[in-house]
């Protein structure tokens, strides 16, 4: 069972690599080089701040774009090209297919993020000539960014399991945007009353809570991230992506693959 999930995951990874997804690393490398050199010349004392802010923001945006645009095609493209039929006619369970696809794309993003992270640390070393203790915060921010990716991949896959790629992209992107304001949404909900409050609170808790996973500005200012928050965020992101993934499995299990 786990073997088949692994094979599907590695095929998904290979597909992303061969479709030249990792070319974004070149753009990223150019961006980091340019930033490191320029910042060193024009600003004093905030080189580190700019490198961390720019680097982490770029990692996050690149990854989310990849997660959405590959994620939405994970299932629908396989149906369109009829490749899914040959896979599912074999002793492969539908849930194994979904799980394999998820791990494949998540793995792609983790590898991609790993290379980008090297770029950020290289740029940091270039501008400040040594690492500081507070640079550990950058690792935490990177970890949180990967947790964000897990949620987005799960959402894109979820929509892909029953909707067209275009609609899936719109839904996934909209949820990402709403998710970055999840805390404000819960604030809005707290201001309403009665039945509306229940509805609004329910909706506010169901959208992905992306904002808590974004600590870029905090670590750019060298502030530490509480260990408790790391723990809770990990738990939250894993449970939330699992929830979305199980939802995708539930829908996909019942789908007629016309």
């Amino acid at each position: 069972m786990s073997g088949r999930i692994l094979h599907i995951a590695s095929n998904t990874f290979r597909e992303a690599v061969r479709d030249r997804v990792l070319y974004n690393l070149i753009v990223f490398a150019l961006l980091m080089c340019g930033a490191a050199i320029l910042v060193g010349q024009i600003s004093i004392d905030i080189e580190r701040l700019v490198v961390v802010n720019l680097g982490l923001t770029a990692i996050s945006i690149f990854g989310i774009v990849i997660a959405i645009f590959i994620g939405i095609g994970l299932v629908s493209k396989e149906i369109e090209k009829r490749t899914l039929y040959t896979v599912l006619s074999r002793p492969v369970r539908r849930w194994e297919f979904i799980a394999g696809k998820f791990f494949g794309l998540a793995g792609t993003l983790i590898v991609n993020t790993f290379f980008m992270a090297i770029g950020v640390f290289a740029a940091l070393l270039y501008v400040s000539h040594h690492f500081q203790a507070s640079d550990a915060g950058v690792l935490v921010a990177l970890y949180f960014i990967i947790l964000q990716f897990l949620i987005i991949v799960a959402l894109a896959l979820f929509f892909s399991s029953f909707s067209s790629p275009l609609l899936s992209a719109i839904f996934a992107f909209a949820l990402f945007i709403i998710g970055t304001f999840a805390e404000d949404l819960r604030g809005f909900a707290a201001l309403t009353h009665g039945a509306e409050r229940w509805l609004a609170t329910g909706a506010a808790y169901l959208v992905p809570n992306i904002s808590a996973l974004n600590v870029i500005s905090q670590v750019a200012h060298g502030e530490p991230v509480a260990g408790q928050l790391i723990l809770y965020n990990t738990g939250y992101a894993l449970l939330y992506s699992a929830m979305v993934l199980f939802g995708a499995i539930l829908i996909f299990e019942h789908r007629n693959l016309k």
């Binding site: 369970r93 539908r94 849930w95 304001f181 805390e183 404000d184 819960r186 604030g187 809005f188 707290a190 201001l191 808790y205 169901l206 809570n209 904002s211 808590a212 500005s217 905090q218 750019a220 200012h221 509480a226 408790q228 928050l229 809770y232 965020n233 738990g235 939250y236 449970l239 939330y240 699992a242 929830m243 199980f246 939802g247 499995i249 539930l250 299990e253 019942h254």
Partner: protein, 309 residues
Amino acid sequence: MRPSRTVTVAATLLVITTMAGSILLLRLVDKARQGATLQEVLYISSPQALKRLSLGYSGLMADIYWTRAVQYFGGNQADNTNNYALLYPLLEITTTLDPKLLVAYEYGSNFLSAGPPLGTGQPKEAAQLVKQGIQNNPDQWHLYYDLGFIYYMGMKDYKAAADAFAQGAKLPKAHPFMRVMAANMAAHAGDIQMARMMWTTTYESSTDKQIRANAAAHLRALKVDQDISALNTIISRYENQTGLTPHSFAELIHAGVLRGVPLDPLGQPYKLTADGSVAVSDPDDLPFITQGVPLGYKPPAKPKLLPVN
């Protein structure tokens, strides 16, 4: 073949448990980073920068920041933490993002100008905010009124208050009281009549329940102050005439100086205590009173505002 029952049941159960778990953890996350959203203000403190960052969707962004300001103020009030350092920056960002968001100026200046526990006691910032509002919305007489109010109540600057009222009175739809207030400001500064006129205007011109309740409570407090002054005059006259200290209103009624037991603005009878001083029977319902507070009374942390219809 049917969809697998095992997969269906297992996935449904797992969706429910992971959903419950994620909500639980989200509450923990929220607790672990209380006010973290607001800390953003510390990173991007320039409202102009934020406006550019909102990519043209500044209206929505303003609404979000306004909610944050209300939440921040309400949250801190509930917790009794008297640290409101972020309120003014939040309001400044909100009104920069949407300069026409009148509620932010009016409500915001209300938060800032009133002393604790109703507000943050920052009348200078309140005046600054309203001035910005006037600059962006010069045709809103209400903002001039708010400004005059802050000068009068918060800063006791009667000259500036008179100027604000006078300017606002020139606007076409201005409340008629504005002109009267401008005229009387210099002569009757600090007088109960003046205060009553201002709170009446607030009460009449606002549609916000909270603001109206607050104005009504202040009007009742003024009435209590007036009543008790009048009662004290009667009592001292009675003492002078008879040389006796009255211990109840019944004595005064018997002597023919009172027609009945006097009632406070809420219809409750005033009490005459053994030492001859007048007090209200339920001080919780009458916040802001300066006279008639029973001896040893401790006001609640948050003033009780009776709802208005």
